[in-house]
């Protein structure tokens, strides 16, 4: 399991490695045909920052070669904002005084109708962590309910058991996103209090359980803002390589959840600038030509418009992060503030204007049994 791998590495030593990379290391990494984890350290290092344009060009080329000139589109469907956790950085934190909602079947179908009218075929189901309210029984019901309407179903909920993932996969689930938040064990403890989520190892081993369940796609990430982004990225990359090698039948995807303003008082201690986020995106691509890279509406219009060509392979559009918001068309309190609030068709036009094909559908119920 991945903890055994993780424990072989010392956070501070890795951080020191990254910050002591030199221009020579950068040139070497950029000119190799394939890059290893040592090169990844270089690519996210301050030494590589002056080479951003070169990294962007390389990332553009490698992404087109593997994925073509296309961007896949998906939309999140927030089912429930009930949560037992107290993650200080999240609007769903159980101590936050917000209206708690869980959608019933009729409400879900109303949401589906609104979502389908935009054209989406790929859907991401999202809940907070509240297993007694939104647990396996609920997930099974929802997937059965929405399966006829979508070509690809993903999910971002609390960590589950391998046997549960197998069950949901059989019902039509294709992808599970599970973010470790931070790979720094001490910081992880600090941010997750004494809640269910405080079990670092259980969360860390969720992708292992997904791999054992032969889930088609596993999405991982660290939150940007909890720790030194360069060091956390190294551990995410280490996790990625581990998963690709061990669970070779599952596709991997990386997301870039940058902490945004939300209800609550958390101010990220570690920030990452737009330019640094570009460095991070292109570093992943140069390091791993096959990994999917996904960006959400947490980012600004300008940023999203420009990363279409820099290595990103999928993006959400038109997202509303409050349960029930699509059908009611309101924008009230949310998990985080949406930055790019354009409609899906505006995002589609933007993608086309960049010379890319927006892809609504890249899977089908008939592709997995």
């Amino acid at each position: 399991m991945f903890l055994d791998v993780l424990e072989k590495y010392d956070w501070n030593k890795i951080k020191q490695d990254i910050y002591s990379k030199t221009e020579k290391d950068v040139l070497l990494a950029l000119n190799k045909p394939k890059r290893d984890l040592e090169d990844f350290k270089t690519l996210v290092s301050p030494a590589a920052f002056p080479y951003l344009e070169q990294m962007a060009k390389l990332s553009n080329k490698l992404t087109q070669k593997r994925f073509g000139k296309i961007i896949q589109l998906f939309i999140p469907l927030y089912l429930s904002n009930y949560c037992v956790n107290e993650c200080v950085y999240c609007g769903f934190n159980c101590h936050n005084d917000i209206e708690r909602i869980i959608l019933d079947e009729e409400q879900i179908l109303n949401e589906v109708e609104a979502i389908k009218s935009y054209g989406f075929e790929h859907i991401l189901l999202v809940t907070g962590e509240a297993p007694s309210i939104a647990g396996m029984e609920y997930f099974e019901r929802v997937i059965k309910l929405i399966k006829p309407y979508f070509a690809l179903i993903s999910m971002e909920v609390q960590p589950l058991e391998a046997s549960e993932y197998i069950k949901l996969k059989k019902l039509g689930l294709n992808t599970v996103y599970i973010y470790q938040e931070t790979y720094n064990k001490e910081s992880y403890k600090k941010f997750h209090g004494k809640t269910k989520k405080s079990d670092f190892a259980y969360r860390l081993h969720t992708p292992d359980r997904l791999g054992k369940a032969e889930m088609h796609r596993i999405g991982i990430a660290n939150l940007l803002g909890l720790e030194d982004w360069r060091t956390d990225a190294f551990f995410t990359a280490l996790h990625l390589k581990y998963l690709e090698k061990k669970y070779w039948k599952s596709k991997c995807s990386i997301s870039f959840p940058r902490l945004r303003p939300h209800k609550g008082s958390f101010k990220p201690e570690f920030s990452i600038s737009d330019a640094e986020l570009v460095q991070l995106i292109t570093a992943y691509r140069i390091f791993d030509e096959e990994v999917e890279l996904s960006i959400s509406v947490r980012e600004s219009r300008k940023f999203r418009d420009n990363v279409v060509k820099l290595g990103i392979t999928s993006m959400s559009a038109g997202s509303k992060t409050k349960p029930g918001a699509y059908a009611l068309n309101y924008n009230a309190l949310e998990q985080f503030e949406v930055f790019d609030d354009r409609t899906p068709s505006e995002v589609v036009d933007m993608i086309k204007s960049k010379g890319y094909e927006p892809v609504w559908k890249d899977w089908g119920y008939y592709m997995q049994l």
Partner: protein, 256 residues
């Protein structure tokens, strides 16, 4: 001489993939410019329920035949299921059988491919399996009744050319069904090389789709494939590793 696969005759020996293009319109223009008569379409990309799927709409030309592919499935069972739906929805019994459980390098699974091919042939499909350049597997698939074999030149999308050349040439030598080199072709010269070797056709996608000018790239492939085939039919003198001895070694036999 034209190429015959199952019940169809092809004047063009260039097959094209339809993924990765910057728009369906550019894809259509490239397809038409290439002169191809067979294009492969990923089942996962098209909407089998919709009558006017945008991708398929751009391929509605009398000269173009559709070859649906099962890219994305991981097992024989899934491939057979997807193939049956495709046959119904797209009204063709032709199928490019692709089973790659490995989503990273998209390496074809020989065991599942053979299993699925046996089943699909019995169900009446015209099966063109995508395989490693494995001569034994190619023969086994031929025995199973496939219409052609499609060995890879290099890893898919790699543009590396015919890295598997030595094995492809064994497949060509031994095969009783057409051999279509698929995957890895990154330049018209690679395509020409495959045809010169005696491959019956090539399938190209990334190299055309991702070119700055896909239409010109398609034209270049069209010419390369014609040149390669012509060279093969012309019976070019083989290159030789050894020098010819200037005085014949067997001259003594005709001496008094």
């Amino acid at each position: 001489m034209s190429l015959i696969i199952a019940d169809k005759t092809f004047n063009s020996r260039l097959f094209l993939g339809t993924g990765k293009f910057s728009s369906n319109k550019i894809m259509e223009e490239a397809v038409l410019a290439s002169g191809t008569e067979l294009v492969t379409v990923a089942l996962k990309r098209v909407d089998l329920k919709k009558e006017n799927d945008d991708l398929l709409k751009h391929l509605k030309h009398p000269s173009i035949n559709i070859l649906p592919n099962t890219s994305g499935v991981r097992t024989a069972e899934e491939a057979v299921f997807a193939a049956q739906l495709a046959r119904e929805a797209l009204e063709t019994n032709w199928l490019k059988l692709e089973i790659h459980p490995d989503p990273k390098y998209l390496m074809p699974d020989p065991f599942e491919t053979l299993k699925a091919a046996e089943k699909l042939v019995k169900l009446g499909f015209v099966v063109l399996p995508y395989i490693h350049a494995d001569p034994v597997l190619a023969k086994s698939l031929e025995d199973a009744g496939v219409a052609a074999v499609m060995p890879l030149g290099s890893p898919i999308g790699s543009n590396k050319g015919l890295k598997a050349k030595d094995f492809i040439s064994i497949i060509i030598e031994q095969s009783n069904v057409p051999v279509v080199v698929d995957a890895g072709i990154g330049a018209p010269s690679h395509a020409a090389e495959a045809l010169e070797m005696g491959a019956d056709a090539v399938l190209v996608n990334t190299s055309v789709a991702v070119a700055s000018d896909p239409v010109s790239a398609a034209k270049a492939y069209k010419m390369a494939v014609i040149a390669g085939r012509l060279a093969f039919e012309a019976g070019l003198a083989r290159e030789s590793d050894t020098a010819e001895p200037s005085s014949p070694l067997t001259k003594f036999l005709s001496e008094e």
